[in-house]
Amino acid sequence: MGIDLPVIWAVIIGFGLMMYVVMDGFDLGIGILFPFIRDRGDRDTLVNTVAPVWDGNETWLVLGGATLMAAFPLAYSVLLSALYIPIFFMLAGLIWRGVAFEFRFKADEAHRPFWDKAFAWGSYIATFSQGVALGAFINGFKVTGASYDGGSFDWLSPFSLFTGVGLIVAYALLGCTWLIMKTEGELQHRLKALAPRVTLVLVAAIVIVSVWTPLTHPSIATRWFSFPNIIIFSPVPVLVVATTWVMMRVLRNETHASPFLLALLLLFLGYTGLAISLWPNIIPPAISIREAAGPPESMGFTLVGALFVIPFILAYTAMSYYVFRGKVRAGEGYH
């Protein structure tokens, strides 16, 4: 037929997942920064910067779940059942945080602190669970036949706990730089002081993961360090260093959008590194997208709808970001 359905679907789902990480990343990051911003007016401003867009961001999560089942039913079934507990906590965190988003504005004074706490806790739990799931994903799963054959707590390892914390730092940086772009004055000043420290912690975490994974996974070491791969893939680490350097420089001066764009680049590089390590496996360490693929009847049928609707979702997303561009001032416009 000439159309390589598993590859197309891997690209679509990979793209959707990246959209999710980037977009829900910065609004989860705002919840993560909540404990560091105590002032009530500042907190309102923080939330107002993402209020117009956050729930569209979760679109990608739901779309990812449904299309993964359609295109790679085996991956959907193995990954989700192996990661039952982290996914459960992620969903619980997202539910709390999602309703807290609205209810903190609609609540009276007495109940407001409760919803603020729900917002911050929900963000931490959801992010940490996603990070743990990511670490467990890199570590791989024990599969026999067509089903997960490991224990309930196989996802739990020093490495996965580390990636859990790492993702909190990553989202905190996205949130922090997003806020630098969207705020001004004293609040922006404080966030700018915070950003370099978060950047350095994140880069340290990326370095540790980059050393840890090849050490524990020989196949990943071979992928990166064999010739000629080491040359082909060398731009990735080089760009990480360069991006960090530029980030530290721009943060010293008057700046608005550049730190956020640099943080996105950093995240994208990390994502690329991950893709390089794992491709073409969808259930590490050994099951590839081809082996996990559903029949072409399922993939093709769903592709028609996806190709029709995804452009609309993208256009709508772009439009809402465009409409709500610019700085958000304290007490402005919202509720």
Binding site: A51, P52, D55, T59, L61, V62, L63, G65, A66, T67, L68, M69, A70, A71, P73, Y76, S77, V78, L80, S81, Y84, I85, F88, L91, A92, L94, I95, W96, G98, V99, E102, F103, K106, A107, D108, A110, H111, F114, A146, S147, Y148, S152, G294, P295, E297, S298, F301, T302, G305, A306, V309, F312, I313, A315, Y316, S320, F324, E332, G333, H335
Partner: protein, 477 residues
Amino acid sequence: MFGLTALELARIQFGFTISAHIIFPAITIGLASYLAVLEALWLWKKDTTYRDLYHFWSHIFAVNFAMGVVSGIVMAYQFGTNWSHYSAFAGTITGPLLSYEVLTAFFLEAGFLGVMLFGWSKVGPGLHFFATVMVAIGTLISATWILASNSWMQTPQGFEIINGRVVPVDWLKVIFNPSFPYRLAHMTVAAYLAVALFVGASGAWHLLKRRDTPAVRRMLSMAMWMVLIVTPMQIAIGDQHGLVDLKYQPAKIAAVEGHWENQPGESLPLILFGLPDMNAETTRYAVQVPHLGSLVLTHSWNGQIPGLKDFAPQDRPNSTIVFWTFRIMVGLGFLMLLLGLWGAWARWRHELYRSKLFLRFAVLMGPAGLIAIVAGWLTTEIGRQPWVVYGVMRTKDAASNHSALELSITLIVFIVMYMAVFGTGIRYMLKLVAKGPQPQGEHPPEPEGQSGRPARPLSAVPDRIDPAIDLPGGRRR
């Protein structure tokens, strides 16, 4: 927990989360169409009560829609986390159908929901009406995909099993499987009826509180016409649905009727009440009407249906449960019929807005449609056991290998969290209902202080209404 097996806990978990979820989409489907009708009447007759009602119910619609989205995220993952063997086996069919549902829902949200909730004074009346109609159609399309997916599991066709998994060979056959048209009609009409009852109860409640405005009267009046006309239709559709089940899932019908075995040449009574005992293979304390079972199920005086004893014990659904869930649904259905007739009679006697007894009955019937929906789903889902894909895959082979302890803990957390979050959301909706429709005069209302506001469902409600949280065991602050 309580000596339940991991399989039972997994089933309870799915049943609980999806029962909590279905309430919101059901209201969404019904209210979206109601709003489209209200707006059409406003554009046609230029009577401001229709417009005021539109704004009133669109706020409630917005909160409800948000609750549906939040509770729906869980469903998109639960097939994989808890039913991984099912997903690996038949995700090839469920996955694409659910994907289409998600794509439809997002298409709708991206395209029309924002205009509908926020565009009243920003776009022309024609375009706004178009957006409302598209949202209403979108909810129906969403329902179509979900019901196709569920119906395929009940009456599967259009597939082959290759290398131990389902491969769809004819999507038209998969989607238009035998039980699908009946289930779709039954559920859509149920959503309309549930919302009519809810709207009617709201109107009746305001009248009892002596808030007798034209808008309040109109919503009671419209709702009672709807209940009067739609309830008999729903009973007829339900009857047809039952006949399809009898043809394709005879064990389900036997369990629903608490019917164990036939005597040669004997007609089938209808057991009104009783207690089916799965171990003793009999229905205790049965109160029955001779011949009525034959009449209802075979549309003949002496017809017979298979009894539960015609099926091996491991192939029988739990009659004790479905016998009762079915009777709750049907009982409420007949109460709805009574409400509709009483409403017509009260209208004829010019006391529709005055009769306290009737209004109190209408208030009591407010949640009846939603309860009937949940009871109906419990009947059809428990009634198809022990199969997850009827006759093809057993439920016990579909579940993930989680331990009972793991499932107990997650179930408890789900229950506490849902009570808190959705309890709060429902209270919030009821507070909005209690405010009542506000006459807006000449200038159409626009959510206040909404400049730079996002097009999100919950934020369509400008009011600060305290969603205090109610946790089991007292109020927490």
